[in-house]
Structure formats: C-alpha cells, structure tokens
C-alpha cells in the first residue's frame, strides 16, 4: 500500500502548488519595512540635503534643520509613529543612497521621473514645480527661455539633476553650461559674476532668492517637464509606498500643505501657489 501512496502524495503536492499561481509575492520580501508594525524599535534613516533654503537647511552650530521637506518629515514622523535620523546627501547621491541601502527614504526636492523609477520607487507627488532661472537682482538681460538657452549666456546647473538633463541638449556656443555638484556652488558663482544665471526647479530658486536679496527669480520663465517631487524609496518597496501615499494624500487634502508652503515660500506670488499643489498622489508602481 505504501508503495502506491508516495506518487499520490507527490501529485497532490504538485497540484496544490499549481493552485498558488495567482498569489503575489510579498512586496517587501527581504527588506524590513520601517513603517509597518512593529514600529518604534528601528530607526528610519532619511536622506536630506542641507543647503536648500526654503526646503532643507542645516544651521551650523545649533544643528537645526529647517525647510518644507523637514516640516514634511516631522509631520510624517508624528503620524506614522516612527523614529528617524537624518543623513545628509548631495543631490547626486540621492539615488545611490537608496540603491546602496544607506537610507530608507529620501525627502530632498527629489523629482519623480520615469528613468529614476527603473531603479527606485517614489511616493508622491507632494509638490509640482517647473524649471526656472535666477539672475542677479537688477540684471534683466534674460527674460525668456530663448534668452536663456540661445542667448550665448553662461548658465550654472548641478550634475545629475533634471535641470542638467533639460539644458544638456542646448549646450553649445549659444549656451555655456557650468556644471557643479551643489546648488550652493551655483549661487556663489552667480553672485561672483562667473555665470549669468543658474537654472533649476523654480521653487528651489525661490528659496535661494528669499535667503539672499541680491538674487532674483525670473517669474515668467519656466520650461520643461512638470517637476513632481516625491519621497524616494528603495526599489520594490510597495508596502511602504502605499503607507506614505495615504499619508501624503492626507497632507494634500488638509490645510497642512498650504500652511507649510506659505511658511517657507513667502516670496512666491499668491496667485501661483495653486499651480504647485498636486491634486492627487500617484498610485504606487
């Protein structure tokens, strides 16, 4: 009898295994979620930048961090009941820090792009802005996109950013690009007269202009894709993405977003505030 039982048992097991074909694997398999229970034990390492006025700054001495992104992290921390630690990153390090597991999330004016989504995940958007340009106060030689990209100007951009990608096709005799590793270096070169303008997301520029009155954002000069800021997450982190997506939608639906925006971008014309607020958070990929 026993001799005939084992093929029966084998077929039974195979068929039961076949019945499991429709079950999806756990999205976070292999990577413990910082937001799912049990929470409060581990520390969530959050990647931020330290030199973006309005968005994310680190005061030397007091070690205080301030800005819209910092306020958002604090709000998320309270809602999700998590402990976190900041990890300072340069703009070019944001993606590699997630891929290399140095941080579990990045909140740092991080544009969601289809290209980046091939390597990492995003929850968002929580902000929309466009490419803009900033010049020295009193310099009105650049008024339009054409003046910027075809007027023979020297323009500063940061490497591995969407601004760099947007201007790269125009690089040549009519657009001289100076590529640096941090926005602050562009500001310094602009103030020193080494470049005619710096280009990046317009809301980032408004932050710099608010902090230094020698700088001026050209209000009507925007171009390129809608830069949609999201919270960067490691690839295939769907469970955490869903949690953050729900919180971000709450952030947009309540008055919190408006409050944070007015607090950190006082120089943005009031009639332009609405165009920076996304209505809906994207589904997680």
């Amino acid at each position: 009898m026993k001799r005939h039982l084992w093929p029966v048992a084998l077929v039974f097991c195979l068929l039961l295994a076949a019945c499991q074909g429709g079950v999806r694997p756990t999205p976070t398999a292999g990577a413990p979620s910082p937001f799912l229970p049990p929470k409060g034990k581990g520390i969530v390492h959050v990647g931020v930048v330290s030199d973006h006025p309005g968005w994310s700054t680190l005061e030397v001495g007091s070690e205080q961090r301030n800005g819209f992104d910092i306020a958002l992290i604090t709000w998320l921390k309270s809602g999700l009941k998590i402990h976190h630690e900041y990890t300072g990153l340069s703009l070019g390090e944001r993606e590699s820090a997630l891929v290399g597991k140095r941080v579990q999330m990045v909140v740092a004016t991080f544009s969601m792009t289809d290209l980046r989504k091939k390597r990492i995940d995003f929850a968002g958007p929580y902000m929309v802005t466009y490419q803009g340009a900033m010049v020295r106060a009193g310099d009105d030689r650049i008024k339009t996109e054409n003046d910027l990209v075809a007027g023979g100007r020297h323009v500063c951009v940061v490497e591995r950013t969407t601004s760099y990608d947007a201007l790269l096709p125009h690089r040549g005799p009519k657009l001289r690009l100076t590529v640096v590793s941090a926005q602050k270096q562009c500001v310094e070169r602009l103030l020193a007269g080494q470049v005619d303008a710096m280009s990046t997301d317009q809301l980032v520029l408004y932050g710099f202009a608010e902090a230094d009155k020698r700088l001026r954002v050209i209000p009507d000069l925007t171009f390129g894709f809608a830069e949609q800021y999201g919270i960067g997450l490691p690839d295939n982190d769907r469970a955490d993405c869903e949690i953050l997506r729900e919180k971000l939608q709450e952030f947009l639906d309540t008055s919190t977003w408006d409050l944070f925006f007015r607090q950190h971008f006082r120089n943005v014309p009031p009639d332009l505030i609405d165009k920076h607020k996304p209505r809906q958070v994207d589904p997680c990929d």
Binding site: M1, H4, L5, P7, V8, A9, L10, V11, F12, L14, L15, L16, A18, C19, G21, G22, S111, M112, T113, D114, L115, K117, P125, T162, D165, A166, G224, F225, A226, E227, Q228, G230, D282, P283, D285
Partner: protein, 199 residues
Amino acid sequence: MWVAAGALGVWAAAQGAKGAENVENASLVVALITLGVTVAGMMRKPQDERAAAEWRLPGMLIAALGIVVALAVGATLWMLIHKPDRNITDLVKLSGNTGMRFGGTADLVYDQPPERENLALTLTLENPHPGGNCVTPARMTVTPKVDGRELKAREAVSGQELPLQLYGAERRVEAQVLLTVPDPACVLDLRVSEAVLHN
C-alpha cells in the same frame, strides 16, 4: 497514477496563459479528490487486500484505456472547437505610436481573421527622455473595432491587460488608442507588450 499526472500536465499546458484560472480551479478539485482517495485507501481493512489484488491488473488497464480515450477526445475538442491561445504580439501593426503627446492617437491593426472570441491586449508606454513623470499618470482610451464596427471604448494605464471581446469578428481587429497625460511636456512611445487571442 503517473499516467494520470502526465495527462493532467498536458491538459494544463494546453490551456495557455489565459486559461490559468481554469487550471487552478481544476487542479484544486483534482487535488482534493486525490487526497480523498489516498485517505480512503489508507483506512481500508486488511481483508480487502486480496480482493483489491485481484482487481489491480484489470483496473489499471481500464484506467489506462479511459485516460487514452479521454485525452484523444479532449485534444480533438480542444484543437477543433476551443482552439489554443494564439500570441499575435508581433503581428499587430502599429502606426502613430511614437512621439505621442496629450490628445495624440495611435492605431493598432491585426488584419487577419482572429478565429477567437477574445483578445487580451497589454499596451505599454515608454518615456524616451530622462526627465518627466509621464508614464504612471498617463491614461489610454482604447476604442476597439471589429470588421469595421466600433465597440465600446475602454480605459487603461500602461502595462494593464485589457480583455476585449471580439463578438465574432471574421476579418480584422483594429483599435485606436487616445493618450491623455497631465503634463503637456510629456512625449511618450506606445508599444504592444502582449496581444493574445483566446476563447
């Protein structure tokens, strides 16, 4: 038992990708029956052993004959009436599918008799530029046409399988895809990642 398992395997494979749900349901039923037979066998009294031994050879012959007949009938029905799935991904002709902006349309044509009742169509959008969050928020409105008759439009996102009924199409299947994307700067390419005809 091995013959039965093999026959089941052949049947399951013949179902194709789109018949996976049928295979799962049938597998569960077979698995439960198999378990029942096994348990019943284990509980049989020893005096039944002699009678069982007498019936073993004729029983196996009857079972083998039954399986052969069932397979032959099943295969005939399958090939002539139900017909296996047909992957036509490479046979769908696309036009207007590159450099699509908001409001742009692309046309898909399969100009052969489909000989099936349904088409499972998966369309994928690709952003060839390094910038822009374009693919996830994009929506495609797919309006199928069978033999020139326009059917109800369906909406899909990139990578989502659209099950389309073909309502007895005899000559050709077409579809027009209308792209809507919130960011007007987005320029996307469309491709057919899978098209499978099935009954």
